[in-house]
Symmetry: D2
Subunit: 285 residues, 4 copies
């Protein structure tokens, strides 16, 4: 059975739930799941609606009618159909742990998406791509070619009709123009510590500072480096007798898990971005 998922946000106002749910009830849609959230601080309303697709109404008609309805209430909205999987591109450099994990989860059916291509600024992970029968594009980058390389990436994203770009330990900073064009459609992962460490060799710094937790954060890429809306975070406990190399290894496991959860939330159409925050509706829905 296919389902239809709406994500909606607007200024909070009376009667929203009744109004929106009536819209779908009148058209014979069974609501499988409805989650809503009101940000009282900001006066904003958020909703995720999952409908059973009865198939009696063409999708274009549904979208047209909802657009008309939404414009009255000033709803910002988007819709996805669960039988149309997200198309996801992986950007990689040399580290394989994150892209491997995502490829495995696609294969295992844990991530219900298509990953039709992998793009690397180094060629190291070409064999990994081959293992999974994925086309691999090696697009090296130098200060001089950065702009041209990004254009090549954009061309590939267009050619492969990509919905979501995952920076799976892609050790390059995308240009402001790129992240603006793909706002809310580029996910990045980076390590995270308490306290935070600037500069090189952060795991070494964390060791020298004797931190007891190391973590990772997945967020949408924005022009401010590592400052985009947070999607998911997690930490793992470490001990004084863990070497800096242990910390790196433990960090890899957290990065894998946090990135996979963030991608899963996105491709299940469970995330609404609101300013610097994300609303991530629970996965049960």
């Amino acid at each position: 059975m296919s389902a239809i998922v709406f994500l909606i946000q607007c200024k909070d106002q009376k009667g929203l739930l009744a109004g929106i749910s009536s819209f779908f009830a009148e058209r014979g849609f069974n609501i499988l799941h409805c989650q809503q959230y009101t940000d009282v601080e900001q006066g904003q309303y958020f909703m995720r609606l999952k409908l059973e697709d009865h198939g009696d109404m063409p999708r274009a008609t549904l979208e047209q009618e909802f657009a008309a309805f939404a414009s009255q209430l000033k709803l910002v909205w988007s819709v996805r159909y669960t039988n149309v999987p997200y198309r996801v591109a992986l950007l990689v450099t040399k580290a394989s742990h994150c892209p491997y994990d995502l490829l495995l989860r696609e294969l295992e059916g844990e991530l219900k998406c298509d990953i039709p291509l992998i793009i690397g600024n180094h060629a190291d992970l070409e064999s990994m791509a081959k293992q999974f029968n994925k086309p691999f594009y090696h697009l090296p980058i130098t200060p001089e070619t950065k702009q041209a390389q990004e254009q090549q990436i954009k061309n590939l994203l267009a050619e492969y009709q990509i919905d979501l770009v995952v920076m799976a330990r892609y050790m390059q900073i995308l240009s402001e123009q790129f992240v603006e064009e793909f706002r809310g459609r580029v996910i990045n992962i980076h390590h995270g510590f308490l306290p935070a460490f600037q500069g090189a060799k952060p795991y070494h710094q964390a060791y020298e500072r004797g931190v007891k937790l190391i973590g990772a954060t997945a967020h949408y890429a924005t022009a401010e480096l590592d400052e985009g809306p947070i999607i998911e975070q997690d930490v793992e406990r470490v001990m004084h007798d863990n070497s800096p190399e242990d910390l790196v290894m433990i960090g890899k496991d957290i990065e894998r898990l946090v990135l996979a959860r963030a991608v899963k939330a996105h491709i299940e159409h469970r995330i609404i971005i609101s300013g610097r925050r994300t609303i991530v509706f629970s996965e049960g829905a």
Copy 2:
């Protein structure tokens, strides 16, 4: 600002969300938060609605009108008003860690309830009650007096108009008749291990078995001992070098936390019991 919280369950059917939300919209109530869940396996629908109390409609009227509406749709429902705090009785024996924790959280405002009395089958915790200026009733129990003692408890619960009974490490089994009469209104806490251990000294058994996790489960009391609907569970990691005494101590921290979370969910009117399961709506609401 006071709020009104409805908990609703019924057979799943089309139009529920639109119908229920319209009922309140028509009466001018602003919906602050709505959570719903459909148990697809059982075909059951569950909802928690939090309304702003505009004060224009007497509570008796609202309840009467909703009762009429609910009977048409065969809704099972209950309502609470956030300015009427739950009244909670603590049943205790000798262990002080759980009741102390609950009393502190009441004092700190973390549990927005009233704890007007403490009942112990031993007198050991009378001083604790005194520390918090609570009346303490010492109702000892022997095989012969068990029935009479339970009657005394019931009289006290009635006298103090108690909504919820918390067995805060009360080392007695309540009679089947008692738990039936207070079905869904008695919360118990017990340790939990993987694998489970029967019989005495469970922490010692867990040590001998070399478990790596110890845990606790809070559940509603039912006639089947420790088998009632689970409200909350948690575990803590232990090591081979933790002694059985360490395990007991670690276990106390988990019991405290798990019981406090379960009581918090209940007094915030966030739990619906469905057969052997509970639906625990998230605390943010």
Copy 3:
């Protein structure tokens, strides 16, 4: 730099630490790490010693001299050299999440071992083996061929000089004779719940019971099914709105992680089995 790792256990007695550490100091070995643990309940002493291999003493000589020393103190001991990696065989059926994870970790260098072969009682995972360039042996099993099939497995383990067998979701019960012969050298993984569930479809049962945590346990295989010494356990929190399918998926992630940690502890020679318990020395060492 290569290191030498001793695991030692014996009846607790005075002077053990001084005696053992002097043995190595007299032979010019620098002790990189020493962990010890006394099980006061059982009066047993456990030690893990990691020595810098100065290379001035042939390994055979060291082992001979230590054997003589150990027999006086009635030490039970074993030794491994970090430049001789464990050789690990994977037993699989159809589920790929655990074997995939182990193969990836070998590739990534997170598990410093060799996995020279994969044995499946079904042929489903042959392609996975091919992806990683590993020989795959398809040894189907029927009630009639069970004994013969186990003999084939044993032959392969001998041929490939296997140190450790990992049942990576191998859905067969090894014979008592097999697990006795490979006592302490077969690791198994299974799901774990609070409370435990018997019989088929445990995740479904867990859903119906409304558990809030699901987990996994890795243990050494023994003749009593799922009752061998526990190596590692973990849990993940679940919610009422997670479907049975969600629980299965979440369970896969825990199984992966728990099994990988157990294998890592074994191949780093950090585990001593003592009756039904394991002593798992910390990974930092």
Copy 4:
């Protein structure tokens, strides 16, 4: 049975374990537990030794003989006797959750120390002190009286023979002179976020930034604010629908737990400070 606990650190060198353990073996001491750790990066060696106190040697003699032995090997060391509990002073302001928790744990026997006095720069927690029959000293502070107030605190610490000062949400910055004088003997607790937030209302900032984890860090106080050696850290998961007030409440639970664990590690003489790091030996010992 009483035990003797040595904490030792020195430059790493051959024969340390053999030498030190022989010292005690020769004097008839049974080693109950020995933990050691080598910081390979820094070339530093750390040891915690727990001896059974056979009572045949006066403590002064033992300490004298060990001092002579230690000076040869350039060991930095300290010793505690488990039958001489640490004496702990609480510094408080208005927030009661941390001091309450510590007082309860003393009462429950979870923290085996004596808390003979509470010092507050506000009088709000006098009633809490009374509940636990503890003397309470109200020492208000103004920019003008800061120095004099610290002198009063020092006088009280001397009078009550205090070993450890716990800043249990004491909202004052101790002077550089004070923390130097009590280096390694003042524990502080503060919230911690990923990313970190400067300035006022950190929980509000965390909400606005949509963090998914909030945490706390316990550390030794040093002249650099919140930058002392970390003892313990933990986090709790939060959701988009948790209000800033929820975050504060969840933060209180973490602060309580993290501070209690840090104090427990200190009074069990399990912590060695090494530059900006701490070595925290495991609690099982």
